[in-house]
């Protein structure tokens, strides 16, 4: 039997309506200020510090379990993993051998053309915290915040490619909105042809969409999409995904293109925050583009 125990059964609660109206007005005011103006950033940062212990308390058992599982892996597993990593490293080193020479060459060519040096990036590694933010939005919480220099709009990568961008910064943590979030868009370029367009999230972690390409666009399944660097939010040239499927319906003017994200959006635990050189992003070459939609800065539409 469901029973309440308290003896507080008097019919009167003094000023319930008044308090309800007061608190509601306060909440409405907060929402308007938070939405329209930028004054609440500091308050939110402080509040996020208050929430940090709760998030740590929730996250740490899972981290502990992962640590435990890692520390009791067998010798065999470690050995196979080591062989695999060595193989990967060898391939990466082969590819890197010519990198220095190529970079120097690129610098020289750019100097010849009087254009700016390529975007040099600074990195910081952050760990995804084991905390759920919102069941219906693709966001993760990362354990680096304003105290580490992270800023809103910063590009975030993982080992496969572009992961997303920073949507909100707390003092010690930050929220990263994934490229697959339905409210996210990122300017991209097809590596094979140089065609520029915008990839928008679908709300599904394994799918991005290219909604602004005409049916006649030169794009086939398997094409690699890289960031175009336009808009200045993301550094140029990082892989965003590969085209999985192109549906061309003659009755429609736009093609329906599915893209598989390059980053392991549902698995990555370590993320890379990238700092762009402030001027380099501004001075990127922007050739005239009459056909495609002009890329807009990929800001989460809030």
């Amino acid at each position: 039997m469901v029973a309440f125990r308290s003896t507080d059964t008097s019919g009167r609660t003094t000023g319930l309506l008044v308090r309800c109206v007061l608190y509601s007005l306060l909440a409405l005011g907060l929402m308007i200020v938070d939405k329209r103006y930028d004054h609440l950033g500091r308050i939110r940062r402080v509040l996020s510090v208050v929430a940090y212990p709760v998030q740590i308390a929730v996250s740490s058992p899972f981290d502990g379990w992962n640590w435990f599982r890692n520390s009791v892996t067998t010798r065999d597993t470690l050995r196979t993993e080591k062989t695999k990593l060595e193989a990967q490293l060898r391939v990466a080193q082969f590819r890197l051998q010519r990198y220095e020479a190529l970079e120097a060459e690129s610098q020289r060519l750019r100097a010849l053309r009087d254009s700016t040096a390529g975007v040099t990036d600074r990195f910081l590694i952050g760990d995804v915290m084991n905390v759920d933010l919102d069941a219906f939005r693709e966001r993760v919480l990362v354990d680096k915040g304003a105290s580490d220099g992270v800023y809103v709009g910063q590009a975030v990568l993982d080992s496969g490619g572009v992961f997303g961008q920073v949507a909100r910064v707390g003092e010690l943590t930050s929220e990263v909105i994934l490229v697959s979030d339905a409210a996210h868009a990122i300017p991209v370029q097809i590596n094979r042809t140089g065609l520029r367009t915008i990839a928008v999230g679908s709300g599904d972690m394994s799918l991005l969409k290219l909604p602004y390409l005409p049916t006649s666009a030169d794009i086939i399944a398997g094409d690699l999409l890289v960031t175009s660097g336009l808009g200045g939010g993301f550094p140029a040239g990082y892989p965003v995904g590969t085209v999985a499927d192109v549906k061309r319906d003659p009755a429609q003017s736009l093609a329906d293109v599915d893209v598989k994200p390059a980053a392991a959006l549902d698995r990555s635990r370590e993320l890379l925050f990238v700092w762009l050189k402030p001027q380099a992003a501004e001075a990127l070459p922007q050739p005239a583009a009459p056909k495609t939609t002009p890329p807009k800065p990929a800001a989460p539409k809030q």
Partner: protein, 158 residues
């Protein structure tokens, strides 16, 4: 009277903290939409159980905490929880004498109202979530209500 309210504040704060932790506990993504609003249920419980110990204040503060951990516009959950907390406080004498089924139905109505306010604010701030999954949480929450009340009253009986 004064001592009475003071005694009640600690379990209130503790249960709210535990519920907040449950709200961010990582779940498999398949189960995530089914997660009931634990903190909302706890706030309803305290609004009904001891309204004069500051149930509405608890509702507002818990709402702010939810806004921060969910990373949404500040005040969204606070508004929803305040409104529904006030409604729960208003209904509390009736809810006490209801049968289990009627209690569950009432809580279901309150939780749905809560989701509706969230839904409305989401739309008003330009991030609509048009996913039917979010309307599942009130069902699960209403089913959990008797268990929660029993757990609380057992705990307090000791």
């Amino acid at each position: 009277m004064m001592r009475d309210t003071r005694i009640r504040r600690l379990p209130m704060a503790l249960s709210a903290l535990v519920a907040l932790a449950l709200a961010v506990l990582p779940l498999p993504s398949l189960l995530e939409p089914l997660r009931p609003d634990f903190l909302v249920l706890v706030v309803f419980y305290w609004c009904i159980e001891s309204p004069r110990a500051g149930g509405l204040g608890l509702a507002f503060v818990s709402g702010l905490a939810l806004d921060v951990v969910h990373g949404v516009v500040l005040g969204q959950h606070a508004l929803a929880l305040t409104l529904m907390g006030a409604w729960a406080t208003h209904l509390r004498l009736r809810i006490r004498v209801f049968s289990v089924l009627s209690q569950c139905l009432t809580i279901f109505a309150l939780l749905t109202g809560y989701q509706f306010v969230l839904f409305w604010v989401d739309g008003a701030t330009g991030n609509p979530v048009t996913n039917f999954g979010r309307w599942l949480a009130p069902f699960i929450g209403a089913l959990l209500w008797p268990l929660l009340v029993n757990a609380f009253s057992n705990f307090r009986a000791r």
